[in-house]
């Protein structure tokens, strides 16, 4: 790894870091906080994910819709015995707020961080908000690396006491435009100090293999741990929507066809012709196919050189993580003893 390893052998000593360094194929999940102050929702979602993921990403006002904070929800996740990956965007906080929140998060016990640019507020429920973008995600990666490795704030001042020691992640969008630049952008994130990478959702394995070949040519897989983003589809409509409307997501026709075929028994019938039982049965058939496709994707990811794990994004469908992890033969997760990292 590029950054200096701490004396005990770990940068942060998180379970995620230890699983990856031990050479296990890592599994991370995702937990979206509620649009309320309901901590019980977090506990229920945590119960669905516990034991099936090495760590779970706690989203930060994802899609610019206001939700309980990542660190607030992450605190409950820690209490529930699950390891969070705190997501932090550049949209809502300047460099003062980011550093201060991360010191607090570390003091509470959080050890993994994913640095993100953040979706533009135009997509969310406060489109009239002022955005921040004081620093970008790469600059955040470097800032947090320097906090950990050089014990300095972004301004250069030294810490007055223990520094926050995070296992630092960044995102990659392998198929966003300009596509030829994407491996180089990943290289920049690694150069800035990204210890692990979680990719945007991948459904197109051949395209991802091409991307990974370029990543390997740059030697990046030896400098960072790459977790491929996967996620179960709920319906053929969702697959088509992602293909047509979400930048940087490729969904091959073959996968859309598999989803469509799963609902074949109800094909050609209009909404009015289907009873509620029919609709439920069709939804279940689709979900089953979506989970199986996801299992197949995970299996293929395990065979790609340089892929160190998967990041399963089953947003508002946390129940799907268990069958995916079990189906892909990734259960039980390796049991790693927690270590204390001292400065």
């Amino acid at each position: 790894m590029t950054a200096e390893i701490h004396s005990n052998g770990y940068l942060a000593g998180s379970t995620l870091e230890r699983v990856l360094r031990a050479g296990h194929f890592a599994v991370t999940g995702e937990l979206g906080p509620p649009q309320s102050s309901d901590g019980q929702v977090i506990r229920e979602k945590a119960a669905l994910l516990r034991g099936y993921c090495d760590a779970v990403n706690i989203t930060d006002n994802q899609t610019a819709i206001v939700r309980m904070s990542s660190i607030g929800a992450g605190t409950i996740v820690v209490q529930e015995g699950l390891e969070p990956v705190i997501q932090m965007t550049c949209r809502d906080r300047n460099r003062l707020a980011i550093q201060s929140d991360l010191m607090g998060a570390y003091a509470i016990g959080m050890r993994n961080l994913l640095c993100l640019t953040g979706d533009h507020q135009r997509f969310g429920n406060h489109p009239g908000a002022k955005n921040v973008f004081d620093i970008d995600s790469l600059q955040m990666v470097r800032m947090v690396s320097e906090m950990r490795d050089d014990c300095i704030f972004q301004c250069g001042d030294k810490f007055k006491g223990p520094e926050p020691r995070f296992f630092i992640g960044a995102a990659a969008a392998p198929f966003a435009d300009p596509i030829d630049f994407r491996p180089y952008r990943l290289a920049k994130k690694v150069a800035a100090g990204a210890n692990f990478i979680q990719t945007q959702l991948v459904y197109d394995i051949p395209a991802f293999k091409e991307y990974m070949a370029k990543v390997r040519d740059l030697g990046l897989h030896e400098k960072t741990f790459i977790l491929a983003g996967v996620g179960p589809l709920k319906s053929p409509g969702m697959a088509r929507y992602m293909k047509n409307n979400v930048p940087g997501i490729l969904v091959p026709d073959e996968i859309i066809d598999r989803m469509t075929a799963a609902g074949g028994a109800w094909a050609g019938k209009s909404k009015d012709e289907l009873t509620p039982e029919d609709k439920r049965a069709r939804a279940n058939a689709w979900k089953e196919a979506g989970i199986q496709i996801c299992i197949d994707l995970v299996q293929e990811m395990r065979e790609i050189e340089g892929v160190s794990g998967v990041h399963i994004m089953a947003i508002e469908w946390e129940e799907a993580v268990k069958p995916i992890v079990e189906g892909a033969d990734l259960f039980p997760r390796p049991q790693i003893k927690q270590v204390e990292v001292t400065s």
Partner: protein, 227 residues
């Protein structure tokens, strides 16, 4: 140049309120070029206000005058008499013009007839787009002459983000992705290596974030007293 657009007539009428004697002041520089507040627009607005007030049964005296630049005292001096005769000034200058009038004529009430939009360029007839954010520390040498501060929706210095698709920004298919433009230009000129450097956080203190800005050039100042 400064690009602005006119407020809707109904809003302008609301801003004028009960004033009986209104002076519409156009500006002969940027807002003339972008067809928002030049002599022609000032005459049209004045005439529209006269007609609508007449139709509403309370005809107002609305005159118009256009100065070369509303943002310079010497041009404002030329309309002092007209300004003092009016109960209200409707400025069709940019935000700088409105403030210059307020500052130069402290006894007069001035309201804005335009929304000042951005620093930009007439891309084609009838289309204006933003080019500069006046951040006070130009980095166009790093980005092939395309400004990511003004033209990337997230002002990224190490773009592009994951929301770049087929050359446009995720926020709107009509908005070009600045980082795609930067990439294409540097790639075309064989200068992609420039983009491989990680750009450090920007010092925003030279932008609006550092507070209202001021430039003093001692070499140009006129001293009132010698020695």
């Amino acid at each position: 140049m400064i690009i602005a657009e006119q407020k809707k007539l109904n809003e302008i009428k609301g801003l004028i309120g009960d004033a009986e004697n209104v002076l519409v002041v156009g500006c002969g520089t940027c807002v003339t070029v972008c067809f928002a507040g030049g002599a022609k627009e000032a005459a049209i607005v004045a005439s529209s206000l006269r007609m609508s007030s007449k139709l509403e049964g309370n005809p107002k005296a609305v005159r118009d005058v256009t100065v070369q630049r509303q943002c310079e005292w010497e041009y404002l001096d030329q309309i002092e008499d007209q300004v003092k005769e009016a109960d209200l000034i409707l400025s069709l200058g940019c935000g700088i013009g409105v403030q210059a009038i307020a500052e130069h004529f402290p006894e007069s009430w001035v309201v804005p007839g335009l929304n000042t939009s951005f620093l930009g360029i007439p891309e084609e007839q009838g289309v204006w787009t933003e080019r500069c954010a006046a951040c006070g520390n130009c980095i166009l040498d790093l980005t092939g002459g395309i400004c990511p501060i003004a033209r990337c929706s997230k002002s990224l210095l190490n773009g592009p983000c994951g929301g770049s698709e087929q050359g446009h920004c995720e926020i709107n298919p009509d908005v070009p992705c600045a980082w795609q433009l930067i990439y294409d230009r540097l790639n075309g000129m064989g200068k992609l290596h420039v983009l491989l450097e990680v750009q450090p956080p920007k010092d925003w203190s030279t932008s609006r974030d550092g507070g209202p800005r001021k430039i003093v050039r001692p070499d140009l100042r006129l001293l009132e007293e010698e020695g």
